[in-house]
């Protein structure tokens, strides 16, 4: 028969104090704890544990400030090289255009070059075939002499082409003169530079950087192009545009150094 005295929630909860493990439990407990303690002594703490410790020490503000600073530095670091790369594109592209022009020179460029060669020859008083030089013996001397006649502000590629054409006109006058005459006497096939510039100017702004480079190329007076000029120019522009994009991806800027991938 139960004693019907008061039993409260507190009395019931106090019963739980009696839920205690026996002595054998504590023997096992001690052994396991010692083993884990030794493991903890040997085991090196990972960096993220240290990080959590730092967070517990309430360094939220300095950590936040450091994070913002780091973000700013990274942002600046990645934005400045992009700008440098943009600035450096014209030089790289110019070099590429030079090489493209050299490749195209025998088929598409002789008109203007010849005109310039003739012009420069006349201006300096050097006849195209006035002297007869043995190529094997004095190539370099002849080149130096021809180069000296070309104005200093002409680019290296143009200078090179001028030199080649001058040499050709000296060595093969019978071949070059009729050709040059024919080309120079066909004004309808030559497109004025102003038209070319107008074409370039009419290109959309979204591709402005690409076509600005092409405009630079056009501005070098490598035109007039062969017939039909618009089609050829368009193809050339497309090709150059692709090449330029390819070249830009090969340019890398790390700090103050510029690297090119081949």
């Amino acid at each position: 028969m139960p004693h019907h005295s008061k039993v409260s929630v507190e009395d019931l909860l106090r019963l739980k104090r009696a839920e205690r493990p026996g002595p054998e439990f504590w023997t096992n407990f001690e052994g396991e704890l010692r083993q884990r303690q030794l493991t903890a002594l040997v085991q090196k703490r990972r960096w993220w544990h240290e990080l959590s410790t730092l967070m517990q020490r309430r360094i939220y503000l300095p950590a936040g400030a450091a994070a913002i600073l780091a973000f700013t530095l990274v942002a600046v670091r990645y934005s400045v090289p992009n700008r440098i790369a943009q600035d450096s594109i014209p030089a790289a592209v110019t070099a590429r255009v030079d090489s493209a022009v050299e490749e195209l020179a025998p088929t598409e460029i002789p008109v203007s070059i010849a005109a310039q060669v003739l012009g420069s020859s006349e201006a300096t008083g050097v006849a195209p075939h006035a002297t007869h030089v043995t190529p094997a013996a004095s190539d370099s001397f002849a080149d130096a002499a021809i180069t000296a006649t070309i104005p200093a502000d002409v680019s290296p590629s143009q200078r090179s082409m001028n030199t080649s054409l001058t040499r050709l006109s000296q060595s093969e006058p019978a071949f070059l003169e009729p050709l040059l005459d024919e080309r120079l006497n066909a004004p309808v096939r030559a497109q004025p530079a102003s038209i070319a510039q107008a074409e370039v100017a009419s290109m959309t702004a979204s591709t402005s950087s690409k076509y600005r480079l092409i405009a630079r190329y056009v501005d070098r007076s490598l035109s007039p192009a062969p017939t039909p000029p618009a089609v050829v120019r368009e193809r050339l522009a497309r090709r150059l545009g692709d090449d330029i994009n390819d070249d830009i991806s090969r340019i890398g800027v790390v700090g103050s150094r510029v690297s090119l991938k081949f």
Binding site: P2, R36, A40
Partner: protein, 210 residues
């Protein structure tokens, strides 16, 4: 460091607790000085209380064993950071409760009882006699049922309410000590305690006598 000065700002309410805190801090100093074996004294002193609080929160003896060991490992690893701003006992309780709460949150969906045998000797026998006149196997079955119902009711409480009632009614901590351990105000502790008792009265009405 002047220990009495340090402990005046903590929740140490009785002279016995203050003496205990001073003694613990002396041992902690030894451990901090490199006497690793001195930490064993603290383990032996507090293992049952730490196990008890974790067991009453988790209602699983295996989990309680693991979490108690984890608590002591964490305390050992962090002992150099213990500055004596509170008593070692409060600090250890904090670690134990945080470790347990973290475990409970992770395993919210996986909870099952694994209970210690209820010892019906001493003061408990008197309470049990008031509840039932059964003897022998019937009494054991009754106690088992009571224990399960009690744990079920406790597990129905939210974790903060369960923690408060466990620390106050079972472990015998004061309101101030619980507030310090749980990082809340004494008012919050009282409020949670009141709510938890009301809830348990509703759940365990069958076993209560008024």
């Amino acid at each position: 460091m002047n220990l009495s000065k340090v402990f005046t700002q903590t929740a140490i309410t009785t002279p016995e607790r203050k003496q205990e805190a001073d003694a613990d801090f002396a041992v902690v100093k030894q451990v901090q000085a490199g006497d690793v074996a001195a930490f064993d004294k603290l383990i032996v002193k507090y293992r049952e209380r730490v196990f008890g609080v974790i067991y009453n929160l988790s209602a699983n003896r295996e989990d309680a064993s693991d979490l108690s060991q984890e608590t002591f490992i964490k305390a050992f690893q962090a002992i150099n950071r213990f500055q004596g701003n509170c008593s070692f006992f409060t600090w250890l309780y904090k670690i134990a409760i945080n470790t347990t709460l973290s475990h409970l949150r992770k395993n919210r969906m996986r909870s099952f009882f694994s209970l210690e045998k209820l010892n019906d000797e001493g003061g408990n026998a008197q309470v049990i006699d008031q509840l039932t006149d059964k003897r022998g196997a019937d009494r054991d079955a009754y106690l088992r049922e009571l224990q399960e119902k009690l744990n079920e009711a406790l597990q129905k409480l939210s974790i903060p309410h369960r923690t408060v009632i466990t620390l106050f009614e079972i472990d015998g901590l004061s309101h101030a000590e619980i507030a310090e351990v749980m990082d809340c105000s004494e008012g919050t502790v009282r409020s949670r305690l009141h709510y938890a008792k009301q809830f348990l009265q509703g759940e365990l009405g069958k076993y209560l006598r008024s």
